[in-house]
């Protein structure tokens, strides 16, 4: 039975790593604009679908993956320029509603461009399952863990060591003060969207071999990522990662020991519980300073 237990943990952590990547995207945009970007799931989808398309055009897999991420970043930057930036002085709620509109638009566009089929990327390094103490995982899961870890490492370097990263941190703490010391908060918002989309697209590419991708695959991932970000505390990067992994684990163990019928419900019960009892999330700021 220990094998089964480990299996639940392994599948939970794989899902959790993806939720963490999506949640990080939510937090990045939240820090720059205090808005929740509900189009985040769509960037995950664009990553996966573009990679499938580029691969079908005959490009080698690594090139297709990199170009797919670049494509998602590009789409995000264009979206930010034409829809978010002109409205940046509007209230947070307006921005959120704009992102919902953007997500509907992108989903519709994806349906027109790529059709309604479900697609799959080939696994990056074979499909022979790896057995660990009675549990099995596919090699792609390791790519997901590795990708998520690399993204986190790169992010912490970016925020700790680069000027743009520091500017983004400053903006998240106090936008007016950041402006006063000469930080271009418009550029910060612009860069945040690109960064968040890149992370989402990375997640989309990494899971496309396991979970497939289709024009509407971003909806559920976006919601789960949002739940993870809420659980960890919006705006907190450690919180996003912890929230993602915790949510994945809860789902995996819930499906294994309770009933798989409740798997999706778990994420939404988590959102509600967090909103009721811990509005700041596990690692987010306490009280009303953020609002």
């Amino acid at each position: 039975m220990s094998g089964a237990w480990l299996q639940f943990v392994a599948s939970g952590l794989t899902a959790g790593a993806i939720y963490a990547l999506v949640a990080l995207g939510f937090s990045i945009v939240f820090n720059a604009s205090h808005a929740i970007n509900f189009a985040q799931g769509e960037f995950v989808m664009i990553g996966g679908m573009s990679a499938v398309m580029l691969l079908a055009l005959g490009l080698p897999l690594p090139v297709a993956v990199l170009l797919a991420i670049a494509a998602a970043v590009l789409v995000a930057l264009v979206v930010e320029k034409v829809s978010i930036e002109p409205a940046r002085h509007a209230g947070t709620v307006t921005l959120i509603i704009i992102t919902i509109g953007v997500s509907l638009f992108l989903r519709g566009l994806a349906q027109l461009v790529w059709g309604k089929g479900v697609f799959r990327l080939p696994a990056f390094s074979g499909e022979q399952p790896i057995e660990i103490l009675g549990a099995t995982i596919v090699p792609q899961s390791l790519w997901v863990f590795g990708g998520a870890a690399a993204a986190v490492a790169a992010l912490s370097w970016f925020y700790g060591r680069t000027l743009l990263g520091k500017a983004m941190r400053a903006t998240s703490h106090n936008r007016i003060a950041a402006q006063l010391v000469g930080i271009d908060t418009r550029a910060v918002l612009f860069a945040s969207f690109g960064l968040a989309a890149g992370l989402g697209a990375l997640g989309g590419v990494l899971i496309a071999p396991i979970a497939f991708t289709s024009y509407d695959s971003g909806v559920m991932l976006g919601l789960k990522g949002f739940a993870a970000a809420m659980l960890g505390g919006l705006g907190s990067f450690t919180g996003a990662i912890a929230g993602g992994l915790a949510l994945g684990l809860l789902e995996g163990l819930g499906a294994g020991f309770l009933s798989s019928a409740y798997k999706d419900a778990i994420a939404f019960v988590v959102i509600l519980a967090v909103l009721f009892f811990l509005p700041g999330g596990l690692l987010g700021g306490r009280g009303s300073e953020r609002v």
């Binding site: 392994a10 089929g117 294994g256």
Partner: protein, 386 residues
Amino acid sequence: MRFIETFRMSWRCSALALAGALIAGGAFAQEPIRIGAFLSVTGPAAFLGDPEQKTLEMYVERINAEGGVLGRKLQLVAYDDGGDAEKARTFAKRLLEQDRVDAIVGGSTTGTTMAAVPLVEAAGTPFVSLAGAVVIIEPAKKWVFKTPHTDRMACEKIFADLQARKLAKVALISGAGGFDKSMRGECMKVAPKYGIEFVADETYGASDTDMTAQLTKIKGSGAQAVLNAGFGQGPAIVTRNYRQVGLALPLYQSHGVASKEYVKLSGPAAEGVRLPAAALLVSDLLAAGDPQKPVVTAYRKSYEDKFKSDVSTFGGHAYDGLMLAVGAIKAAGSTDKAKVRDALEATKGYVGTGGVVNMSASDHMGLDLSAFRMLEVRNGDWTLVK
């Protein structure tokens, strides 16, 4: 009489319908026969509605090019319900009340079909559903017919195969959708008839991306075979996870995933998977004397030539639905709804893509188990199990 009918209609109906009638022919006698359709062209059931809509459009065009039906053109009035039962109800209402269609072919899913059934019954319009579940025709409803095999027949076909392989302990894993639940229920109902015992009963959500937890539980259940009742992308993930957790038992899928997409998504993991399906998928494997061979070959060629994509059984259901409705209108000699309904119920020996249809007052589908072929995936393609 028809003139008065028409007059009353144009008076009561919107200007749009009047304009449509005028454009179509100018004279009232040339008013087109309206075939209504509500299909799930987008949304989670898009893989059903998309080929269905394409098929209906293609054949309505073709029938019109060949002179129409009873000297009148066919006009297709199609709406996309996005797989949403509430929208399907709205569109069915619009088809019945505003578009005043002569017959409805549609309802891609059981959920959308059942949402429209009460309206169709009240309005008294012949309705040929393209959805799978047995509840649509059982108990038989006066105005409701359907073309696809039922999930009960799929269960029976699978159980007969299990019986032949002397396997009795079966683990069931099904999705959360209407099709999945219905098939699960039907399989549970007919299992005792074939001496089948269920040792596990797992479920997964419609957009779940990992079923290893459920399959791990099945692994420890002592099952001799596994049956996955589901459609969409879920079964492909089940198939891949099945090999991942090292299950080597025979795996059966439902007719719900009888499309090339399933084999493509599952990759090598689909090897050896069996599923019941209509003759359409294996048209080239059928024996030369098979009564369905000419029909399925012709439909398949038309579809694949025109749309450059693989044929699916779902488009075939729409073909059968349209042909049954057109056949009944021809047999009735008019679009009088009661006469068309009676003609539909009296359909005998219609050879379609789904099988040979013999309707009766108690059987509004008219198919038997021979309509199903047991298929096995070998080398990434279907083969016929003898």
